[in-house]
């Protein structure tokens, strides 16, 4: 057997690696690396031509340095040179370097493609594989363009070596996924499908991944693969444990290939051909039977490999959902695993059973395991296993066991891991609503939820209970009584106060007959919580109080007294103050009739999808919740009421006077949340001319290019991470600007010590003046706070002011620094002028330093309307019929600063066919001040 000694072949490399390992500090390491880089650079630059071995060694060292996390900016050419070496080891290092440090330098790509082409046609299987692996690892469009035609030929040619076929199949898969338009299978389809029959199991293993992907996209063209896959599977499943020699893994014949075959079959419905179907059912039965046989080895590898096939077979059985016998057998098998000593198996059984629960054939069989699953919820050590148990309980819940399951989930909530509480709360809330026969049980359950896990009860949940109580008059009295009792606890959660305030404000009259809950007692109880609550809850309570005045005239004097107190009517919070003033006035001026009309009981909410369900779907992502099953349940449930995204608080203020809600945010950041689960970010609500088409790119990139995205627009989302979203809205006039920043807390936990500071890098201090007031140091969970910045441009500037945000989240200090999108073009005044004027001025600004010019590749399409929108967003006037070439754009404007005004002319010349497939721009700016021309040119070159 081969054994490799340390770094054999390249002694210099081994020495270098040892040196690095012996470095005592980061500084020493950097010093050693810099020394090496200098050495390599001088070798590459030296007069003496390097031999292949040295080149290989140095390129390999560069690669090692790169993998340590350092930037490498040379050596690419030497790596490319290695590709044309005849020695395997040199070629291999060259290809490895290219694969790891892909460089889009077009010059190099051509050379690389050339080398690949040579290797592909070399008929040397080792070289062909290296070239194919490089294509598979890089997978760029240029490579697809160059090789997508050639690789299918290699794949199906009769004289291609097996190992090359394996690489070719997966290489093609990579190209197909990256550039499906370039990979045309047409004439090759049938021969590719027949690779399933190949004698070499490795070829089948590789080819089947390609076939599966192609089948998903073109199921009809590839459907002949079904019968081939069934017969291949059948041969493997029925073989003895040693028949397949090399492909037997711990006494299990070809486990990975079996899994891939079973997965391919999941792309199709059950086979229509009776014989094929019979054979497949036989396979599935054999797999289930084998699970019952005594193990051939005690090794975990044996049982894992066997069970990998079993779970894939069960997935296929569930996918078909047509064989009751197999479904029930699968369920029984999984039932055994629920108590297996291997945690992995218990986890997978719970997960798999979750999908079985939604099949009508196996739902009942799954339900028989309820006690085991409840036990798992209580005793499993790994939180992810408990989570699967909770998922399964949720999935197996129906009318017959709802009360038991909800009770178990509630009691589990008391000790549940923090990371899953919010989801558990949503699930309990949904089950309670869906299977409520009597609504007093539903109300009890939700109030229990708030009691046990109040912090995790989101707005949707408490909105929902209120909607249901409002829509069902048979439960209103009970709700009022229960909530009144719940509020008597010495410490109760703020969400309880919200629900209590709302329900008593609407239905307190239903329990007012009892002297123990007379109107004044109710009011005093609510008011005793007032001072402990946050502003939104206090606002809600004030609304409840005015409703009390209407319901119980005898409380009027007491409540007016409260509203009149300084702490209300002069409250520093504008919303509370306004409510206090308006309600006080309303109660003293309006007649009883008017009061009764204004403060009438809330009308029923329109029936819509439960907002909680929407929230859970959003949380879990599409497809994770058995949605169809839930919706069936909803139809069958019938008695669902209410719904909608409208929260009761906003509804309440709407039915009242014209109280502006503090949460009415300008950007609509929050209201967007419940419906659009897949929307990448709230930024898409805004007219965003720079958004990437198709929203395909990684969303994380938003943070980095946040600054540049605002050069030509004023509003949008500047920054977003998991905790915080910052929206921005700004307006400019002359040399002054005002910027509104909206800090949204995306979590349900308060941010403490929240503070922001603006700093001025470089000379900016003397060029720009930004004034602001500090923000409130506490930002509640889900809340948004606003900060206004007043900006004055004193003279032209190139740097951007920086905004530093600090806050504590769950004890950890968060520190974020962003560039504020204040750029010189914001202070543009557009200037309209005729062609003659324009060219006259253009000539006047002809000194070299007055002009700045850049030629650059288009990063976005050259759509005229988009370009115009960007140029207008820039702040200049877009001058029509000025440039003799109608393709070009010219603009004019004056930058207004406190110290001077700077006239600016701009010309943008698109060249749609610079080279085939490459679109270029030439951008020219002329102004009376060189720094302005240069800065604008730099900013704009990033925009098109």
């Amino acid at each position: 057997m081969p054994a490799v000694s340390k770094g054999d072949g390249m002694r210099g490399l081994a020495v270098f690696i040892s040196d690095i390992r012996n470095c005592k500090s980061k500084e020493a390491e950097i010093k050693r690396i810099n020394k090496e880089l200098a050495n390599i650079r001088s070798k590459f630059k030296g007069d003496k031509a390097l031999d292949g071995y040295s080149k290989k060694k140095y390129v390999c060292k560069l690669l090692f340095i790169f993998l340590l996390g350092h930037d490498i900016d040379f050596g690419h050419m030497e790596a490319v040179n290695l590709l044309s070496s005849n020695k395997y080891t040199e070629k291999q290092i060259g290809y490895l370097f290219i694969s790891v440090l892909v460089n889009s330098n077009s010059e190099l790509i051509r050379l690389i493609n050339n080398a690949i082409k040579n290797d592909l046609s070399s008929r040397n299987p080792t070289f062909m594989c290296l070239a194919l692996h490089c294509i598979a690892n890089v997978g760029s469009r240029e490579m697809a363009e160059a090789f997508a035609g050639e690789i299918p030929r290699i794949l199906v040619a009769g004289d291609t070596m097996d190992s090359v076929k394996q690489s070719a199949a997966l290489c093609l898969l990579r190209l197909y996924k990256a550039s499906p338009d370039l990979v045309l299978m047409g004439e090759w389809t049938s021969r590719v499908v027949h690779l399933l029959n190949d004698q070499h199991m490795g070829v089948v293993t590789a080819a089947i991944s390609l076939i599966t992907c192609l089948s998903q996209k073109n199921p009809d063209e590839f459907k002949t693969c079904v019968s081939l896959a069934v017969s291949r599977l059948s041969r493997i499943v029925s073989s003895a444990s040693t028949d397949l020699q090399d492909y037997t893994y711990y006494f299990v014949p070809a486990p990975w290939l079996s899994c891939k075959l079973l997965r391919l079959l999941q792309c199709y419905p059950p086979p229509e051909d009776g014989a094929v179907k019979g054979r497949l059912v036989e396979c599935l039965e054999t797999i289930l039977n084998k699970a019952q046989e005594p193990p051939k080895s005690k090794k975990v590898q044996h049982s894992n490999a066997k069970n990998a096939i079993l779970f894939e077979a069960i997935s296929l059985i569930i996918h078909y959902d047509s064989e009751p016998n197999l479904l029930v057998r699968a369920c029984n098998q999984l039932g055994q695993f629920l108590q297996h000593r291997e945690t992995n198996l218990r986890y997978l059984a719970l997960e798999s059973m979750c999908t079985l629960a939604s099949s009508e054939f196996s739902h009942e069989a799954v339900k028989t395991h309820i006690e085991t699953v409840i036990n798992a919820l209580k005793t499993e050590r790994d939180v992810s296993v408990r989570q699967r148990a909770a998922d399964l309980l949720y999935a197996m819940c129906d009318r017959s066991n709802a009360k038991q399951i909800v009770a178990e989930m509630l009691s589990y909530l008391e000790t549940a891991d923090y990371s899953i509480r919010e989801e558990m709360v949503l699930k309990v809330a949904i089950l309670a609503e869906k299977y409520a026969v009597d609504y007093s049980w539903y109300v009890d359950t939700i109030l229990n939820l708030i009691r046990i896990a109040g912090d995790y009860v989101s707005e949707e949940v408490w909105y929902r209970v209120i909607q249901i109580v409002i829509n069902r008059d048979d439960v209103q009295g009970y709700a009022a009584k229960t909530v009144f009792e719940a509020l008597q606890a010495p410490a109760c959660h703020e969400n309880m106060v919200k629900v209590g305030g709302y329900i008593l404000g609407e239905f307190g009259n239903l329990i007012a007959g009892d002297p123990r809950s007379s109107p004044l007692v109710q009011f005093n109880l609510l008011h005793s919580k007032f001072h402990l609550c946050s502003v939104p809850t206090r606002a809600l309570l004030l609304s409840a109080y005015i409703k009390f005045i209407n319901l119980f005239p005898e409380t009027k004097a007491t409540i007016q007294e409260v509203l009149r107190s300084d702490s209300q009517i002069r409250n520093s919070d504008v919303e509370l103050q306004q409510r206090a003033v308006e309600y006080l006035k309303l109660s003293s001026i309006a007649s009883t009739d008017v009061l009764a009309t204004v403060l009438e009981e809330m009308p029923p909410f329109p029936e819509r999808e439960s907002s909680i369900l929407a929230k859970l779907k959003k949380k879990k992502g599409p497809g994770v919740v058995p949605v169809s099953e839930l919706e069936d349940g909803k139809r069958e449930g019938g008695e669902l009421n209410g719904g909608g995204d409208r929260g009761p608080d906003s509804a309440m203020s709407a039915s009242n006077a014209s109280t502006p809600s503090p949460s009415a945010d300008l950007l609509g950041l929050r209201s967007a949340a419940p419906v659009s689960a897949a929307a990448p970010s709230a930024g898409s609500l805004l007219v965003d001319v720079f958004s990437e088409s198709g929203a395909g790119g990684p969303a994380a990139a938003v943070n980095d290019d946040g600054f540049l995205r605002f050069v030509c627009k004023n509003n949008g989302v500047l920054f977003e991470n998991q905790l915080l979203q910052i929206g921005i809205k700004s307006e400019y006039r002359q040399n002054l600007g005002r910027m509104y920043l909206f800090y949204g807390n995306k979590t349900s936990v308060q941010f403490a010590s929240f503070s922001t500071t603006v700093s001025y890098p470089g000379e900016l201090q003397s060029q720009l003046n930004v004034q602001t007031k500090p923000v409130e140091p506490l930002v509640e969970g889900g809340a948004q706070v606003q900060q206004v910045l007043n900006i004055e441009c004193i003279t032209d500037f190139s740097e951007a002011p920086q905004l530093n945000i600090k806050f504590r989240y769950g004890g950890a200090l968060q520190n974020i620094t962003l560039k504020l999108p204040v750029t010189i073009n914001k202070f543009f005044q557009p200037t309209e002028m005729a062609a003659t004027d324009f060219f006259q001025r253009w000539k006047q600004l002809s000194q070299p330093q007055q002009e700045a010019q850049k030629i650059f590749k288009a990063n976005h399409g050259m759509d005229t309307e988009v370009l115009k929108a960007k140029l207008l967003g820039l702040g200049t006037a877009l001058l029509e019929n000025v440039d003799p070439n109608p393709e070009n754009y010219v603009c004019a404007g004056v930058v207004q600063t406190k110290s001077q005004q700077v006239g600016v002319l701009l010309r943008l010349e698109p060249n749609a066919q610079a080279q085939p497939g490459v679109q270029m721009y030439r951008l020219t700016l002329r102004s009376s001040k060189d720094t302005v021309s240069k800065r604008l040119c730099d900013l704009l070159a990033e925009q098109f």
Partner: protein, 166 residues
């Protein structure tokens, strides 16, 4: 919306959003030691360098807190990590949530057995000094984010042949 757990970060704005069908099965393979030093990082989809560093750190944080009583699977962003610990090294493979956990768990073991044969009782230092050969082993067994070859005999025969070439 609480975004503290890995669970809920699935749909939050921080993760990656690429149409599912263009993803390879395996997003990446990582070998890390307990201190978090990376011994192999093989990426099967495009991540920028910052994102890679973030993923490496997150995987380390998620995996090292787990013990032998835990499963070998962790949900991670909108993927899952299948991992196994061998002495001081964690072998992690990041796949789609719908992929077959046990098949990839044994895929890791199969890979480790090959490394063990090839390096003759493999240890962490072998992976450091022969990092460029480890990539060759990976490419023989996994390519384009899919399993390429599973037979240890075939892989080792091929590696031996390559070893004999200059």
């Amino acid at each position: 919306m609480a975004v503290t757990s890995t669970q809920s970060s699935r749909t939050s704005g921080g993760g990656l959003w690429i149409p599912v069908e263009s993803w390879p099965s395996i997003r990446f393979i990582l070998i890390q030691n307990r201190a978090g030093k990376t011994r192999l990082a093989k990426w099967y989809m495009q991540f920028d360098d910052d994102e890679k560093q973030k993923l490496i750190e997150e995987v380390h944080a998620v995996v090292t807190v787990r013990d032998a009583k835990h499963t070998n699977f962790v949900e991670f962003r909108n993927f899952k990590i299948i991992y196994r610990r061998y002495a001081g090294l964690y072998f992690c493979i990041c796949v789609d949530v719908t992929d077959n956990n046990l098949a990839y768990l044994e895929g890791i073991h199969n890979f480790v057995e090959v490394l063990n044969e090839y390096f003759h009782n493999v240890c962490e230092l072998d992976l450091v000094f022969n990092f460029y050969k480890v990539y060759t082993v990976v490419d023989e067994m996994f390519l384009a984010g899919e399993i390429r070859e599973t037979s240890q005999t075939k892989v080792l025969k091929q590696l031996l042949m390559l070893q004999s070439l200059e």
